[in-house]
């Protein structure tokens, strides 16, 4: 349960989710690897294609037909064991290698929500989706003090009284910096609401997970830079899907390392 004893940095809108995920996310390092191998495969294929198209273009219009092709006759078969095995085995090795790299990210982004280790240190929130907006509930507190030690902001946990300087009740999400966040995702279920799918999507941390009626899903991530970021709904949910937006404010001092 974090109490952040440092001056408030939330006012500085540094960073920005409109340029994609933050540099420290696992997404960035994976994207670099995948871009690299895409370029390798792509450039190899296209240079080979270009070479073949130029080198083996038609020399003269009455070039004799190769392989004795005649209408109605199945042509002479051509194959080459070594070559075929090469382009069966090399891509297989590459795919296995990429799968190996990808494995770790699965553990990072799909964290076990019932893990006790996570439960001890995490800042717990509930994201409740409805048509068309979000409710955020806090199960822990963030207290942010300014330089002189006076309380500046205070996140209101679910059920607690609203105090001076309270934030977290304005429809936006407030998160502490450098603390693992565990978000439970549910849909609003009050009878009057239509239970449909939604998906909180926070590009800054490259994560999303569907809100499914009748199911609890989880997201886990750790903000490491303060600032204001976007939260979109990524699962089509009807008329005003594109207006189902909120801001995520990461407050407190970053870089203390955890």
């Amino acid at each position: 349960m974090p109490t952040v004893n440092s001056w408030n940095a939330s006012a500085q809108n540094v960073g920005g989710s409109t340029v994609g995920p933050a540099d420290y996310t696992i997404f960035r390092s994976l994207l670099d690897t995948w871009n690299f191998w895409s370029l390798v495969v792509g450039i190899f294929t296209f240079i080979l294609l270009l070479y073949l198209v130029i080198r083996f273009r038609e020399e003269s219009p009455d070039d004799p037909k190769l392989d004795g092709i005649k209408p109605g006759v199945f042509p002479k078969e051509r194959d080459n064991l070594t070559l075929e095995l090469t382009w069966f085995i090399v891509p297989t090795i590459l795919v296995l290698y990429l799968t190996f790299i990808a494995w770790q990210s699965m553990i990072t982004v799909w964290v076990d929500p019932y893990s006790e280790e996570l439960a001890e240190e995490s800042f717990d929130i509930t994201i409740e989706a409805y048509q068309w907006g979000w409710n955020f509930y806090y199960h822990d507190e963030i207290v942010v003090l300014n330089e002189t030690g006076n309380l500046t902001t205070f996140v209101t946990p679910m059920g607690s009284e609203i105090k001076d300087g309270s934030i977290g009740i304005d429809g936006n999400l407030y998160l502490p910096c450098d603390t693992p966040i565990k978000a439970k995702i549910v849909t609003l279920n009050d009878g009057g609401e239509l239970p449909v799918l939604h998906a909180p999507f926070m590009p800054e941390w490259a994560i999303k997970e569907d809100a499914v009626p009748g199911l609890e899903t989880y997201l886990a991530f750790t903000p490491k830079e303060s600032g204001t970021f976007d939260l979109f709904c990524a699962e089509y949910c009807g008329q005003q899907h594109s207006k189902m937006l909120a801001k995520v404010h990461v407050v407190g001092q970053c870089g203390t390392g955890e």
Binding site: T18, F27, W34, Q131, W132, L194, A206, K243
Partner: protein, 769 residues
């Protein structure tokens, strides 16, 4: 100019004038006296010094409820206290709802169309009470404009006396309860619907005219109504595989353009941030119809067209196995499109996207799916029926009706690909049909298959849909593989490299295609174990696909490549499909997919595969087999122009979407508020318009070359399979005598001894069956 022509032109001119004048018929209702929209101009005093107070204006309204609005105006410069008559006036407009006079104010307030104003008696006070009854639809924002006028009474007994008065304006916007709740403003506008309907009607009219013209050109002397009826009857009742194929082709081509018009309309909407060219409802409905149209009404029928035309010719059969079921399959498809589009004409087009995710798609009412969705789902069930009918037909034909010499491993690759595709379709379709029938029942008789609160399962739909949906995207790409295999081998004047590994790769894709559906659902709350399995299997799909791409490249090696238009499309396919294949490798990775899922990166990927793959393959097939179908070649110059613009345009449209995806732009968004996305989006829209316009070159080429194209003869490109042994166009039935396919491997004693490939050895026993 003949008298007739003058009459026709005069009539057209009159119709044009009448159409041009139509929108002006609804003009703004005028108020009391000269009170217009600009305020109480009956008194011409200055504006601005008067204060207007309105008490009782709600923060948000509930549909159908009445609200009491107390209007009072004051102006210290024109005190009303001493006056007894002619003190003030007001004029209130609202964009929705109805008005009435408040209690005790029936003499002072009167209703107007779209608003309320004071009566002649009401001129003598400065306070009025108006009752506003809210509209039923809560999903909107009602705008109020109130003009109030403080009058100094000098008109009493003194003529018109309109000096020294002052008026001002009060404005308010009241959202409905449904328009609140985190959602933004609802955009009210109706024109693009009319554009879409007009474009479709215009297209159908042009299409009918074209039909009559084609009939006329067939036999200019015999042009009369009886002849036309008989000719139409022949086409409506035909069971010949070539004619049904032509019906499929014309149908798919028409819907290719309709789907394109939808995409251009919503591309215009997306061109700049915060655009309001389309309303949310229209946008949602248009992208739904674009996706469904392109997959089910354009790509699938286009494949069915070539399968119909070419499969019997390639395997040496006189017709398909079940000609009447074949015709029925087409007509079920044709009528299902009426159901799919049924909602559009009433402004209630289905808005559930082509994936039709429940429980949104099974809901109704104010915030649920639109009313047209029920018809749409019924249309999808019919589509499933149509595909089942045509699928069983192709499978039976290929299994049972091959001519002597056409053994399984001596079958042209297009036929092989059609076989694999239809087998996949046949196995996967039941999941879609079951799913949509559940959905239809949920919508109509209140079952709860997808309703969590009643014990249903929302994720069930996603599983059923994608168990069908992922094989489905292979169903539309695999025939393109077959076409490219044929075209590249023929153009390089060689046999295909590694025929056997090509067949195994096709079959491998066919099998793997069934165990990867979960990669569409990695963020859907699905079981983590299933996520892991689907991630591994999805990675594996790259291997057979890679084998195919390298076999195509090896086919070119040592060949003598001619650059006909169909060759260009197939080479273009190699480039764009490879790019689409590579970007597909980004999705099974957990750390990448949690970001890319439902962003524009996905949109870029599947358009590279479906446009750069399926559509390029189909265009290749059009240029390749058009001479076989008509006896004339398509124009190569127009073909080159069409290829160059489309290839560049396609990359210009879809490549920037990768970047938008990385930056986190979600798909299916009606609009966006991030200004930095405008630049790429404007570029995409501009490119899309150019690329769309280029498709008319193909349409014109098809029409022009039918009459004026270069005559082709039996085998214009030097292909080997049996369709090139028959005349162009082929007779009916397609072979008078069942042909026998020869085998160069046996003739030259080159098989099986010198054929050293792994796959040849594996197949040695049954290869010469």
């Amino acid at each position: 100019m003949s008298k007739n022509k003058i009459r026709v032109f005069s009539l057209l001119f009159v119709v044009f004038i009448a159409l041009a004048a139509t929108p002006q018929i609804t003009s703004f209702p005028t108020g009391v006296g000269a009170n217009g929209n600009a305020g109480c101009t009956c008194h011409s005093g200055g504006a601005g010094t008067t204060t207007i107070d309105v008490v009782g204006m709600p923060d948000s309204f509930t549909g159908g409820e009445s609200y009491e609005l107390q209007i009072s105006i004051s102006n210290p410069a024109i005190p009303g206290g001493e006056l007894t008559a002619n003190m003030g006036g007001f004029r209130l407009f609202a964009s929705a709802g109805t008005f009435g006079a408040g209690e005790n104010f029936t003499d002072l307030v009167q209703e107007l169309e779209g608003g309320a104003t004071h009566t002649e008696l009401g001129n003598d006070v400065r306070d009025w009470v108006v009752i506003w009854t809210a509209p039923d639809s809560e999903g909107q924002i009602v705008d109020f404009t109130l003009h109030g006028n403080a009058v100094n009474g000098n008109a009493v007994g003194a003529g018109n006396g309109n000096t020294g008065d002052a008026w001002s304006t009060f404005e308010a916007s009241v959202p409905g309860a449904a328009a609140l709740g985190g959602g933004g403003a609802l955009i009210e506008q109706a024109e693009p619907y009319e554009v879409a309907i007009a474009a479709i009607s215009f297209g159908i009219t042009l299409f009918s005219l074209m039909l009559v013209y084609v009939f006329y050109r067939n036999n200019p002397e015999g042009f009369n109504l009886n002849g036309l009826a008989a000719w139409l009857k022949k086409w409506l009742t035909t069971t010949d595989h070539k004619e049904v194929g032509t019906l499929y082709f014309v149908y798919s081509f028409l819907f290719l353009f309709i789907g394109m018009i939808f995409s251009l309309l919503f591309r215009i909407q997306l061109s700049v941030a915060d655009n309001d060219f389309l309303t949310q409802d229209q946008y949602n409905s248009f992208f739904t119809l674009h996706g469904t149209t392109m997959i089910f009404l354009a790509a699938m029928p286009m494949i069915a067209a070539f399968a119909n035309w070419i499969i019997p010719l390639q395997i040496g059969a006189k017709d398909l196995a079940f000609p009447r079921i074949n015709a029925m399959g087409f007509w079920v498809l044709a009528f299902s499109s009426i159901l799919l589009y049924g909602g559009v004409m009433s402004g209630e087009g289905a808005d559930i996207s082509w994936t039709m995710y429940a429980p949104y798609s099974s809901s109704g009412g104010e915030k649920g799916a639109s009313a047209g969705t029920t018809l749409f789902v019924a249309g999808i069930v019919m589509l499933g029926m149509s595909s089942t009918l045509s699928g069983v037909n192709f499978i039976a034909t290929i299994m049972a009706m091959r001519a002597p010499g056409v053994t399984w491993m001596k079958m042209p690759l297009f036929t092989w690909s059609a076989f694999v595709a239809n087998a996949m379709l046949y196995i996967s379709l039941p999941a879609l049909i079951i799913g949509t029938v559940y959905l239809y029942l949920d919508r109509t008789i209140g079952t709860v298959f997808y309703t969590a609160a009643s014990g249903g399962d929302p994720i069930l739909w996603a599983h059923l849909f994608w168990f069908f949906g992922h094989p489905e995207v292979y169903v539309v790409i695999v025939p393109a593989f077959g076409i490219v295999s044929e075209v590249l081998a023929t153009s390089a004047k060689r046999s295909i490299f590694g025929y056997r590994s090509m067949v195994y790769a096709l079959a491998g894709i066919g099998v793997l295609g069934f165990v990867v559906w979960g990669h569409h659902m990695l963020t859907s709350g699905m079981d983590p174990t299933l996520r892991l399995i689907m991630m591994l299997t999805t990675m594996l799909v790259a291997i057979p696909t890679g084998v195919k791409i390298f076999n195509w490249l090896a086919t070119l090696w040592g060949g003598s490549l001619v650059f006909k238009t169909h060759t260009l499309w197939s080479l273009g396919f190699l480039v764009t499909f490879t790019m689409g294949g590579i970007s597909g490798m980004f999705f099974p990775v957990a750390g990448l997919d949690t970001h890319f899922h439902d962003t524009y990166f996905v949109v870029a990927h599947f358009h590279y595969v479906l446009v750069g793959g399926t559509i390029f393959g189909m265009f290749s097939a059009i240029y390749y087999w058009y001479p076989k179908a008509t006896g004339r070649k398509l124009d190569e110059k127009l073909g080159l122009l069409h290829f160059v613009i489309t290839f560049i345009g396609m990359n210009a449209v879809f490549w920037p979407m990768h970047q938008l995806g990385i930056e986190g732009m979600p798909r299916r968004y009606h609009t966006y508020s991030v200004d930095s996305w405008t630049e790429l989006n404007s570029f995409i829209t501009l490119s899309a318009l150019i690329m769309g316009a280029a498709q008319f070159i193909l349409a014109w080429n098809l029409i022009k070359s039918y009459k004026y194209g270069e005559e082709s003869g039996k085998d214009p490109w030097g292909g080997w399979s049996l369709e090139w042994t028959t005349t162009s166009p082929p007779p009916t039935p397609s072979f008078h005598e069942i042909p026998t396919q020869g085998d160069a491997n046996i003739d030259h004693h080159a098989y099986p001894e010198s054929s050293g490939g792994l796959f040849s050895k594996m197949w040695k026993g049954s290869g010469s069956k």
